[in-house]
Symmetry: C2
Subunit: 308 residues, 2 copies
């Protein structure tokens, strides 16, 4: 990964009170907050999907309680099946979200370990930051001391004080210059040490940050994939619902109804005069006559199962 | 619409006690129940979508409360925008469901009017059903009367009773036969009347039923379309989310962070000895020297806005 102008070594090593180290260290720690917040977000999403799934099951129940009477009755089954399937889709999404939460928490644990290890590794950099700050304050004092001695010497020269007094002031100024030079050397040494250590730490923070963001993006991708899968499934359920509604024609509904409730397709003929026949007459001729007339609602045929 | 074997006229006019009329009349009334149940189902769906929408708004809130610190911070905006858009999609579906409920209720009102009108139109058929039942019971009595008189006559003949008594019995049997024949005529007349009226009513019930199922299927299609539209919109929101996540590279996140939090890109050189110069020396030479050394954390430059 090439981060031309924007990596931590370029942007966070220098500046006011060497605050870069603090900023990078705390940014690393904020990575843990981001992970926890992502888990919280996904947990909320899982809860939403669970509620939606339960509501869909309730909706399926409403469909299954639809009146079984009337021609419309078979349609409720289509609604029930579809709602039940939607409930399952969202329940599966909830499960996937719960799996994802486990992955996020697992990553968070690794993150804590890495940060603990890193803290130990960068302690030297923190010490060199502090040392540089100490040297810096010494340097300021030495510079001020040297300058005030020079001002004093110049004043004495202008006033034309005795040579001995002038020599004393010159000695003081010379010593202050030496102290200033010594402070400069110590400061620069601390500066070089800080620069090297800070550069290493910044690289470390950079690597950790890149790995962290890479991991976070992987977790988000898993979130996104699960939602996408569910979206495709839900689309299939809708398509199926549409097809089922299409397939159950008005004709089918009326047929189903007449199959169940129809009172018979055989149209009775008119009733004719049944002449009295002595029981002695053969069964044969009786049967042939019995066929001629049937009174609706009284003939045995009407009670046969196929006409009910 | 051709309903070869399954229309009401074919299947529901005849049979046990002419129950077909009752069945068809009550089926028509069940149409109102189906309409009310469909409205109830859609109302529940609307409520589910409203709850889901509200939950998504809450989720967006969680995203917007994501920590603004650290490199991950800008990602929360992607989550927030996506969740807010999902909330809107489902809110719109809720609105469409509410519009649909209004349509269903409007249809239900029309249905009530049609059924009231139809009840008046088929009252004649109901009367003819009742009349046929009355004639049927008369017919049974007349048939039994005729047969018992015939049995009686046969018995007297076998016993060889006096001619006068036999003639009396023959007259009774003849009268019973006439009464039976009269009942048959009345019954057949009532049967023809019933058959014609029932056929008309069955056609009327058939037409009402077909129109009802057609209307119900239209309402279900509207339900299905709304859900489909929302599904497409939700898919777009997901696609957008995926793209946004893809577009915010690790590089971008680190750049944004260093833009905000970077402590300066300018690397300080080593500090050198600054010889004391009397204020009398020209500003020019002072400037050129000042450029040589800058102590981190003290130079004015470090306080310039671009390095904060």
């Amino acid at each position: 990964l090439i981060l031309a102008h924007f990596d931590f070594r370029m942007c966070c090593c220098f500046g006011e009170k060497n605050a870069g180290f603090d900023i990078l260290y705390h940014n690393m720690k904020h990575g843990q907050i981001a992970t926890k917040e992502l888990a919280e977000f996904v947990r909320e999403r899982a809860a939403i999907e669970e509620t939606y799934s339960k509501s869909m099951s309730k909706l399926a129940k409403i469909a299954s309680n639809g009146s079984p009477l009337g021609t419309f009755a078979p349609m409720w089954d289509v609604f029930r099946v579809s709602s039940d399937k939607l409930a399952l889709c969202h329940l599966e999404l909830m499960r996937k979200m719960n799996d994802l939460i486990r992955d996020i928490n697992k990553y968070n644990e690794e993150q804590v370990k890495i940060h603990r290890k890193t803290k130990e590794e960068v302690i030297g950099t923190l010490e060199s930051v502090q040392s540089l700050q100490v040297q810096n304050s010494h340097l300021q004092k030495a510079r001020e001391g040297y300058h005030s001695k020079c001002v004093e010497l110049e004043r004495l020269r202008k006033e034309g004080v005795p040579q001995k007094e002038l020599e004393k002031a010159e000695l003081k100024s010379k010593k202050a210059a030496e102290s200033f030079a010594g402070s400069i050397e110590k400061f620069n040494r601390a500066g070089r040490d800080f620069e090297q250590k800070m550069s290493e730490s910044a690289q470390k923070f950079q690597d950790i940050e890149e790995a962290h963001l890479r991991q976070m993006k992987l977790l988000i991708k898993a979130y996104s994939h699960s939602i996408e899968d569910t979206h495709v499934q839900v689309g299939q359920v809708h398509e199926e619902f549409k097809q089922n509604v299409e397939n159950i024609g008005i004709e089918n509904l009326i047929q189903k109804f007449t199959d169940q409730k129809g009172t018979g397709k055989e149209r009775p003929g008119p009733v004719g005069f049944e002449e009295y026949l002595s029981p002695l007459v053969s069964e044969n001729s009786k049967k042939s006559r019995a066929k001629a007339f049937r009174i609706p609602g009284l003939g045995k045929r009407d009670k046969e199962p196929d006409s009910m």
